[in-house]
């Protein structure tokens, strides 16, 4: 039983990372109805920028956090300005394909910078394990887990209670109607990409805390996308719940199924879950069901 809880806790810690990555995707979708494949790159670049200042320049933790956030937000803004703004008014699917092209281009930049090497963040959170009746939890992962939950709460409150959040929800509903009530839709697009890039930076830093920065890091965006879709693309709660759930399933599944099928359950569990959810509930577990008319 202790073993099971140990796997479960480890899974939940990893799951909070997935939830963080998915949060950025959900944010963009909630405000613009664009599904972003490129989000994994923002996560990876967030981690890379943070490494540049913490590991590369040797700045203290708080001082390297600020430029990392600013640079990632700038990258997000740049993507929105150069690539997605010209597509306003085009079919949403064009925007999806655009984010896919951005993913590839940024992947090239990422690979070009790393040159096949890995970068490891120096430890910046307290080390050690918290021991609760035999189950050990690494403290640094616990901190990033708490940060994830707090961030979710903050973003949900922003969407629900601020004027900016109201504007974003209105924009997602109908661009033209929102414009006619005095909301500047273009600005909303910029804000949401900046916000999403900052969430991505948090996700990147939290991810780089537990794994190296290497060429596969951007692909965590695909895991994030899976979580976002399974939870329902417009539901922050869904992203959190399904993110934690996916981490749980991956870890517990790997622990108990790997001996049966000969390993590698971790690599494929997410995709099987995605296929199952898409077949049973196409709009995700917490998503709004849309009725289509001709």
């Amino acid at each position: 039983m202790i073993e099971f809880f140990q796997h479960a806790i480890t899974g939940l810690m990893i799951g909070s990372l997935y939830a963080l990555v998915a949060a950025g995707i959900v944010l963009v979708y909630k405000a613009t109805h664009v599904v972003s494949l490129a989000h994994g790159q923002l996560v990876a670049f967030g981690a890379l920028f943070f490494w540049l200042f913490l590991g590369g320049l040797g700045l203290p933790f708080w001082l390297s956090l600020v430029p990392a956030f600013v640079l990632t937000a700038l990258l997000g803004l740049l993507i929105e300005r150069l690539a997605l703004r010209p597509l306003i008014g085009q079919p949403l699917f064009a925007a999806f394909l655009m984010t896919f092209a951005i993913f590839i281009a940024l992947e090239g930049v990422f690979v070009l910078y790393l040159k096949g090497e890995t970068r490891t963040l120096p430890a910046f959170l307290p080390e050690g394990n918290l021991d609760i009746s035999g189950i050990s939890i690494p403290i640094n992962q616990l901190i990033s887990f708490c940060v994830a939950v707090l961030l979710f709460a903050a973003v949900s409150l922003l969407f629900k209670y601020t004027k900016l959040g109201l504007g974003m929800r209105a924009t997602a509903e109908d661009h033209r109607l929102a414009q006619s009530t005095g909301i500047i839709v273009k600005n909303i697009f910029s804000y949401i990409w900046i916000l999403s890039a900052m969430v991505a930076a948090v996700a990147g830093i939290a991810t780089a805390n537990v794994m190296d920065i290497y060429y596969m890091l951007p692909y965590i965006g695909i895991s994030g996308l899976i979580v976002a879709i399974c939870g329902g693309l417009d539901s922050l709660l869904g992203a959190l719940v399904v993110g934690l759930l996916l981490g749980f399933v991956e870890n517990v599944g790997a622990a108990y199924l790997d001996p049966l099928v000969g390993g590698g359950v971790k690599d494929v569990a997410a995709y099987v879950v995605l296929l199952a959810v898409l077949l049973i509930r196409p709009y995700g577990l917490f998503g709004l069901v849309k009725i289509e008319r001709i």
Binding site: L87, Q90, I104, L112, L275, L278, P282
Partner: protein, 348 residues
Amino acid sequence: MRPCGVFDKSYGLDIAIIRTWQHWVILISALILLYTFPLFGSYYLVSFMNSLAITVIVVLGLQIVSGYCGQISFGQAAFMAIGAYTSAILTIKFGFSFWIALPLSGIMAGIVGIIGGAPSLRIKGMYLAMATIAIHFVVIWLILHMEITGSFKGLYPLPPSLGGFEFDTDERIFYIIMTVMVIMTYAARNLVRSKVGRAFVAIRDNDLAGEVMGVNLYYYKLLAFFVSCFYAGIAGSLWGHLITVVNTEQFTLMHALEYVGMLIIGGMGSIPGVFFGVLFIRILNELVMFSSPVLAKALPWLGSSPAAALGLIAFGLAVIVFLIFEPRGLAHRWEIFKASYRLYPFAH
């Protein structure tokens, strides 16, 4: 391509693919040129053409399911892998000849494609694209975890042979690949202008409206996936026997993304567009290949071998530029050129 003043005077002429005697001349001389190409082309050009033709077959399949039927698929590389592995297993482990294994691998990939296309009955657009990514990873995972596929080591199929003649060099297998490509192109060109093709287009433009008009959505969506994966399977089989080694490194998600990019650049919903897109990306790749050593020397911070990364950047930027400035792809430019040629020397 018709000059000004040529009219179709019968129904047969109207539906013909090849309309004028000039077309016949161009077609036949192009075919003669194609089949004599290994005699005067360099080894590099011949192997380039081989991989080009195989990619054309894959992207033709993708064009049918995505460009015509509107179901975006990021799983094409996985279905190509299924074709390659099926053909390799049939020839190595069961002693089938290549000529039987080739169509069988297409059919095998098609059947798996029907299973893979099943989610399209409930979801579409971006959701379906994600489902096909999931299918890609599940298929690759299964290949890596099965005994018969040789797991990580992969398989080593032999070059095809016919009556003692071994197609064991790039110049020799060139004829097989080109013949298959020509047949597949002809089949695709005809499929999309038949009843089936019109049903596909109806589903793409508005699936609900199509269903109301009497298009059987389930049948035609699954048919589109079957045909598309059949193409991928054939291409995979050819690829395996050309390279004579099959492993999962050759069928990554990046390959599948590349095929979709070729489709966007070439133009969705056009058979010539496939050729434009594949040519454009492959030539772009070759240019990056040739220029990257020079760039690496001039800019030392790029590292010693920036070719792969620069290729990705160039490819991504090309797709971005096309999406912004020419979302209908090179095929649209070709249509404009054809229209102006037909009107020449008049303005309209």
